[in-house]
């Protein structure tokens, strides 16, 4: 497994075609404005980090993009065409945070279910299991898994889908440092294989290490988008890390 520790921003230029455009998404829960006119682009094959503090609206935004919650206004465009709510699942797969689905079922059955639904051959299933180190727990029930293994199973499910765009909410939550780096490599391999990733990450160090571009979100509003260098220039924090840039812009 190749270990990459530097972002691939240099490979994603402004000429890379836009895969998805989020255009003016707004969502209100009663008096609370969860999302306010959120707009940004995602280019093909890039890894976009959705950055923000707790309550910034990251999960709501990902659910809105995936069509899992109704929005008050706004649209999602796929290669410049409107992507209606009912067809989001054709192109986008969202992996929510904190899931422990089908707890009474064995890990092997859950993985086989996704592989069968998406017509994945057993070779692909085997490689995914190998990539995520799941062989030791295949005979266990999902309910009996540790948090780390449960997260790996969830990542395996996402990787078994054929969707060109994966949205993941806190994909490294529950991993220690070594495991986080392993999983970063797995996701980078997925991106290198042609996937585009949008990751909601609250650990800014992880995000800086992993993502090509960032969407800074606070209070349901976009406070900045771009590569780390672009955000540094906008914030006037030349040479600063993502943490300082984030604090300066939000």
């Amino acid at each position: 497994m190749t270990v990459l520790t530097t972002p691939r921003a240099e490979n994603i230029s402004g000429h890379t075609p836009i895969l998805m455009r989020v255009d003016g998404l707004s969502k209100r829960y009663g008096d609370q404005q969860a999302l306010a006119d959120v707009s940004f682009d995602v280019r093909r094959n890039e890894i976009v980090g959705l950055i923000g503090p707790n309550g910034a609206g990251k999960t709501t935004l990902l659910e809105a993009i995936a069509g899992l919650i109704p929005v008050d206004s706004g649209a999602v465009l796929w290669r410049h065409n409107a992507l209606p709510f009912g067809r989001r699942r054709d192109s986008i797969f969202f992996l929510p945070d904190g899931l422990r689905p089908w707890q009474e079922q064995h890990v092997l059955h859950v993985l086989e279910f996704f592989a069968a639904v998406y017509h994945r051959p057993s070779l692909v299933l085997g490689n995914t299991i190998k990539l995520l180190g799941l062989s030791p727990v295949l005979r266990q029930r999902v309910a009996a898994l540790s948090k780390g293994f449960c997260r790996r199973v969830m990542l395996a499910l996402a990787l078994l889908t054929p969707h060109p765009l994966l949205l993941m909410d806190e994909p490294f939550d529950g991993f220690d440092l070594r495991q986080t780096r392993e999983m970063m490599d797995v996701l980078r391999e997925a991106a290198a294989g042609g996937r585009t990733l949008v990751l909601a990450i609250h650990q800014l160090i992880d995000a800086e290490r992993m993502c090509d571009r960032f969407v800074l979100l606070a209070g349901g509003r976009v406070r900045g988008t771009g590569t780390l260098d672009e955000l540094r220039k906008r914030s006037g924090q030349i040479g600063a890390g993502l943490e300082d840039v984030f604090l300066a812009l939000t």
């Binding site: 919650i69 054709d90 192109s91 797969f93 422990r100 689905p101 059955h109 017509h119 190998k130 995520l132």
Partner: protein, 460 residues
Amino acid sequence: MRSPETAASRRLQVWPLLAKELREIFNGRAFWTMLILLCPLVGYSFFPATTLYGDASAAARDSPAMASGLSPLDGVLVPTFGAFYVAVTLLFPFVAIRVLGREKETGALRLLVQLPYRTVTLIGAKMAAVAIALLIALIPALAALALWEMLGGHLAAPETINLIGGHLLYGLLVGAIALFSATISDSAATAAIIALAFTVSSWVLDFALAGQPGTLGMIARLSLTQTLRTFEQGLLSVGLLVGIAAAILSFSALAAIWLHPGMPVRSKLKRSFACAVAFAAVLAIATQLRASADLAEDARNSFPLADQRELATFNEPLVITVHLAPEDPRYADLRRNVLAKLERVMPRVTIRLASSGQTIVGSSTEESYGEVEYSYGGRSAKSRSTSHREVLPILYQLAGWPIPAPVVGAEYTGYPLVADARVTLPWLFAVLPLSILLSWWWVSRSPRIPMSLAQDGGST
């Protein structure tokens, strides 16, 4: 616009989805607990029913008239399946709720609705799994029927299959209600409360309001329990079948409408309204369907064979005006013994209650109260009888036809059986529950890992 891979994945197989739903049921405790509880419940119904049937049979040994009243449908089948009914009403909702409630609680629903299946397919697979679970839940009751046969008891296939079919339809209706409850609830516990509110309140409705006049009577007829009565009488009614099927489909459709968390509530309400209107329309049509088949071996829903043949040829309209309050027991007798049978056999029968607001208290002193007027072919006659033996000659007289001679050998002679049912107790209280426990263990064991998936170098 779509990726080729996802477009390809639209050529879907439903089997993986159904297999997942079945695993969800069979890996949980609710189903197996219900199945194990069903054994003593069925045993507790079957044993006294068989014993009482034996006692009645012993008394009828020298009396053909008494023996003709001994029907295994009433004596053994209905009481035995009564236990199944109790389990389906009180326990099966928990099994059905599980196939969706757990997914809502654990967040798995958010993965499920992203799979390339339509919500109708998702709910269809869940209903199919619920139906399979229901079929398996029949095992204790079917085992009791097998024991009845081994004791020398008689089973008539049409009435037995009709009764089992009725219970399956009732179970599917309960399953569809439970699934809908799970769709609109945030937790399995809330869903269980909603589903039980449907089933138990319908039970209470049946007890409290059945036989009441007017609106109360109409409400009582909406009771789910009422759906079983017809099947328990050995009658297969097309209108009832259509009504139950429409109810099952409507609750399933509502579950599909409310399943997706991403659909705005306003859209869900609009679709639900359309679904309710369609259901009401089908129900209205179903109430007009009078086709039915008397599958009871003793033909209790029909007149004697000779009369059936004769009455079927009456082509002119028969108008019956009843001067009885609907809650009057005589009206119930007349309805069961004469009116319902006439409606089944004659093509054109109209039944009128002289006054829909009539009550026993207010009308019993009227001179005409209790009279039933029969009008056929421009002639009419009155009678106060509720027995077909007195009413049918009146009809033949009105039509100017002779009374037909009875068909020899067509009478039901009954199936008396004196048997010691104690030998069935170990089977229903020990062998069957133990077999179910063994099946639970076998189903729950860890899967074998194919060699191709067994190796990797991952760490935790």
